[in-house]
Symmetry: C2
Subunit: 692 residues, 2 copies
């Protein structure tokens, strides 16, 4: 399969089925793109209507060519596609441009299913259907109906939207972005985002993988493959579909399945994928990652010939991981000698409005020996500013220095020539300080992530623990018996057992059968609650009584509850004094599988949504790091000499919870609410809902 | 003064002091800009070194001209400026370009003080010093050393940074932004942001006031003037100095005083100023507000010829006040007739990749009759897209329709000609969907704000209440006596009295003197705390005992506290059961005066910073609206049939608190923490710290 894709993306013999000489037809655009832009391979035309096309022989069918064809491009009505593909035994790779498949509804879906079946049977690769095609600038191949050939470079762009690919090529020219591939995956019937990440991950001509996606098909495999590839090269994805509204738009657009956006965020972060927040940021990130070094050192210096923009650039460092560098006294002294007395020798370094290229150069030379990672080089074209010479200073510096030097020339016409110099040398300008700072920050955060990853054992402790777990079977039996009783929800007694078997600490409780008397010693104050799968909101239905202080109150309360719920068990629990109230939950996502949700509980849970997510598989290392960076991370850090909870304990608990989610697939949903951190810092599940 | 500024910004007779024929000198650039760009007034040169300059007579001094000069531009070394200004009795308006004043340190500050004194004495206006100058395209006046003359338009741009003004002019040309004024206020010794807002507010040629500011001098007056002007025209401000770091940069840049950034946000929102988050957004907002109608109807439609960008645009509507419009069945039917079957007739309306200008036009015609406010017109240049014709459709539509039609053409070279057509007709393109949606949203939020404002009585209830307040004097006496005792902090007993006098409900408490016995009936459980101005953290020092349940425990606890604090009073308070824990505070800001801070209290206060701010003066209406939109607004809305607190009660409390802040200027800081909402929904101050 790997070799096969190699022929798809680097073909020597190409056939065009449905080529046309009629202007305005897609079959014409594609044929001309392949013929006229410099592709050096052999090209064949297939169209039973013609003897000749573009002054070359035209074949009636693919098999008539009597040669092994590397790639056939299909541009004929949808209903004929499957036969054409099935009959062509001399072709292993197809691009199906034709629309009229799954994107059009049920009938089209059937057509697509049939095509997929053929592709499996004949072991062929199909890009599309319903796609724009493929462009590989290095071999001057434009096998698409988008005009022109972008510059050859190191960015592979994969798009689920053909129109967006066209627009991106157009903007890229302006922004001097250069491509190794532009690939429209259309309905991604067979060659999907996973196949693309895998293939492009192994192609050394690709430095950055950039994707526009509307949906992800197989979440788990996607994460697994992306995790591997993102160790080697950055993967930048613009994923549409953040809001309910836009999920609607997607449904009518390609019919993809879309999971909740927060889960996508979690998956991307797990796979170390850089998610572009919008189209604008997408370009900015591609520019940074394809042209500059990854940011290992967060210390950044701003050099400017204008105070105002310097201040504005500084503002952008708020709440960032990249930081403004501080200079030593010695360094400041050096600056002082090189600069006019009115200059600021703090960071930002203000070279003043009359700064020459020499002044820039001298300061850069000093900075080259400092412990910094990045230099943001601001310039506005003032009266006497030698803009082109300053651009050249930057170009020369970048050639000999390992530091990232990011030009932010602010202006229009006056800086045009300077930008040309920068572009020619693959040092793209960032139009605004914010863009440069944000992008540097994203790059550094990725590095930090990778760094930690490489230093932790990558294997998931998961597989090790699994077999040791003796109680898996016991829990499965509880679940089965509940199902047998036609219940969807476990009783608290059952849920408590399940948790305990998986090592999740549950509050002590006494489970009283109807009419059963209290035998044990009771430690007041306590809580009484009815144990029923039907009473979802215990408070509303008077099935919950808090703060019972003595035996008399207990008797009275028990009577009261049993009056309302005569056939149910009653649970007696101690009132727990606590330091913090958490929640912990499990949901099943159709794309990404088990999703663990944990965060701050209590009355503000739904208002502030202070929750984080985890996706399986998980190692304890990963869980711990996730907690540290989570919204409740502060509970596990010392503040004023004290911390609320123990991170190791929550790590173990989440790990066990993940095991439970992995083993017990019949369980669809769990809510542990509250999960308390008691006064001694211990975790304790107090109420538990398990839904099958 | 108003007339005087009129002559400064619309001069007929101009004198240039320090004009020069030497290339590269500022005096040369300015002289040439005034002479060569079409200014029709009379120009005089002053320079004792020359007889003639630019083939015109050159005067030795301003008074030698023997005419009333509207505007003199001073470009001579700083030390000579005061004498020149003082001697020129025939000049009422000056621009002092010269640097070397307050921005350079103490010596310069003195020089600036002297100049200010002269300006007051002689009743003259001075723009600057240390500024770039002034440009008024309408009269073809470029009295600055920035080259060129921007197009005449309706945007007045005022900048505290000269270099930024130059860069902005350069970008503006590219973005087709047209100016009524470009004004560099430099050190804003006399003509500051307030004077500019006032003047430009009254100038009918100005539609939008745009400013770059690094500091604000007189916060209260600034808000007052801006509140008036922002009723008439939008004020967009890019205010630098968000972070500690950048405040440092400002100090070394212009020596402005900078208040905390959150307070600036509050002030701007109070004055209905639109704050641009960064330079990029600044341009986008200027583009929207200068070329489009203010957004009164939030319903927005996306029309697109490309699915992907349509989905991305939809994503940008998340958490916005502008909304995607929903179409009626009837409307959808109309679209269905006009569009190919594969088109989406939901919002976004997908016209498909082969959309012609006619298809755009037909859909727009339908939309013109719908109840919507804005149309975002997306276009990517696909194979056959008639980009220029589509631009023309938009131009024609905008001429006859009252709806805002915002073009978002995505691309580079391929859309260039289309953009030229749009620009020529003052319909600027937005490069990315996000930019258009964000800007529309800002415009709508401003309108909503204004609308509410106009419908509420603008007078502050404040002044009405003031005289009725009988207890002002009593509180002043408490404060005086504390000061007399050389204390900085009020005892709880005192603070409680202060609050009560101003109608702020305080928890019941008994104030026991040292050795005093308990006489009254006690309702347990209670809290004991020592009342001392020295014990700031009561918990740390064992001066606080919670949850005392009976008389025995009380005796024991009282003994314990008195052991540690023998000379202090002890406060007995009931333990309050509560629904929510708030905080309320007062700080004094050097720029904006009294700042009220209120929000969520409890253990997470400092972690989540769920607080909002209020600046004086305040009306109850304004307070109420602020609470509604605050981070604790949810506490006062019904959720599941229940609300935690009463908004009227908190409104009254905050209003009284504001009165206290206004009356008692000796009080520098107050912390009410916690301010509880008890089980009945009543507010109650439980601990109070008042600092003088």
């Amino acid at each position: 399969m790997k070799n096969n894709l190699e022929n798809l993306f680097n073909p020597k013999l190409i056939a065009i089925v449905g080529a046309s000489e009629t202007k305005g037809k897609i079959g014409n655009s594609i044929a001309k793109n392949i013929l006229e832009l410099g592709f050096q391979g052999e090209v064949f035309f297939v169209n039973p209507k013609y003897e000749k096309l573009f002054e070359k022989k035209c074949y009636a069918s693919l098999s008539d060519i009597k040669k092994e064809i590397d790639l056939a491009i299909i541009i004929i009505p949808a209903k004929f596609v499957d036969t054409i593909v099935d009959d062509a035994k001399n072709v292993k790779n197809f691009i199906v441009i034709s629309a009229g498949f799954a994107e059009t509804g049920k009938k089209g879906q059937k057509r697509e299913d049939a095509l997929l079946k053929i592709s499996k049977k004949n072991k062929v690769n199909i890009l599309g259907p319903n796609c724009l095609g493929l462009i590989v600038p290095k071999i001057k191949l434009n096998a698409s109906f988008a005009g022109g050939l972008p510059k050859d470079g190191c960015v592979a762009f994969v798009s689920q939207s053909g129109a967006l690919a066209v627009a991106i090529m157009d903007i890229a020219k302006k922004e001097n972005i250069k491509f190794s591939h532009i690939i429209s995956i259309g309905n991604k019937m067979q060659i999907d985002e996973i196949a693309m990440i895998k293939y492009l991950g192994n192609d050394d001509s690709v430095k950055v993988i950039a994707m526009y996606l509307e949906g992800i098909k197989n979440g788990k495999k996607f994460i697994k493959i992306a995790q591997k590839v993102s160790q080697k090269k950055p993967i930048i994805i613009l994923k549409a579909g953040k809001s309910e509204k836009s999920q609607k738009a997607i449904t009518s657009h390609t019919g993809s399945l879309v999971g909740s956006d927060k889960i996508v965020d979690t998956a991307f972060s797990k796979a170390r994928i850089i998610r572009a927040k919008n189209l604008e940021e997408f370009f900015i990130l591609i520019k940074l990652f394809s042209n500059f070094n990854l940011v290992n050192n967060p210390k950044t210096v701003i050099v400017t010939n204008a105070g105002g923009p310097g201040v504005l650039a500084t503002d952008n460092f708020q709440n960032k991981s990249v930081k403004l560098a501080e200079f030593s006294k010695k360094t400041k002294k050096q600056f002082r000698i090189l600069l006019p007395p009115e200059s600021s020798v703090e960071n930002p370094i203000d070279l003043l409005g009359d700064a020459s290229d020499i002044r820039y150069q001298k300061i850069l030379e000093v900075l080259d020996n400092e412990d910094i990672g990045n230099i943001i080089c601001l310039m506005t074209a003032q009266d006497q500013t030698p803009t082109e010479k300053i651009a050249e200073v930057i170009v020369n510096f970048s050639k000999k220095s390992l530091k990232n030097i990011i030009p932010v020339f602010i202006g229009g016409e006056k800086i045009k020539k300077a930008l040309e110099i920068l572009n020619k040398n693959n040092i793209p300008n960032f139009s605004f300080p914010k863009d440069a700072v944000d992008a540097l920050n994203r790059s550094y955060e990725l590095q930090v992530m990778n760094y930690e990853k490489n230093n932790s054992k990558m294997k998931t402790d998961f597989d090790n623990v699994l077999d040791k777990n003796q109680d898996k079977e016991f829990v499965s039996q509880i679940v089965s018996s509940v199902k047998k009783n036609n219940r969807k929800i476990l009783l608290f007694g059952e849920a408590g057992e399940v948790m305990k078997k998986y090592g999740i600490p549950v509050v002590n409780f006494i489970n009283l059968a109807p009419n059963e008397k209290i035998h044990s010693e009771i430690d007041f104050p306590i809580v009484l609650k009815v144990d029923s799968d039907k009473v979802l909101h215990k408070t509303d239905k008077q099935g919950l009584i808090l703060g019972i202080k003595n035996m008399d109150e207990l008797d009275e309360s028990l009577k009261k509850i049993r009056n309302n719920f005569s056939r149910e068990n009653v649970i007696i629990q101690p009132m727990i004094e606590y330091e913090a109230e958490l929640i912990l939950g499990l949901k099943r996502d159709p794309i990404f599988g088990a999703v663990l949700v944990y965060g701050l509980g209590g009355i503000y849970t739904e208002v502030f949504k202070m929750v984080d997510f985890l996706l399986l598989p998980l190692s304890k290392n990963e869980i711990k790091r996730n907690i540290e960076n989570s919204k409740i991370g502060f509970l596990f850090k010392k503040t004023r000499g004290k911390k609320v909870g123990d991170i190791e304990e929550l790590t173990d608990l989440l790990f066990n919870f993940a095991l439970l989610a992995k083993d017990q697939k019949e369980i669809k949903e769990i809510d542990i609410n509250p999960l308390l951190i008691d006064k001694k810092g211990k975790l304790l599940a107090v109420d538990i809902k398990v839904i099958l």
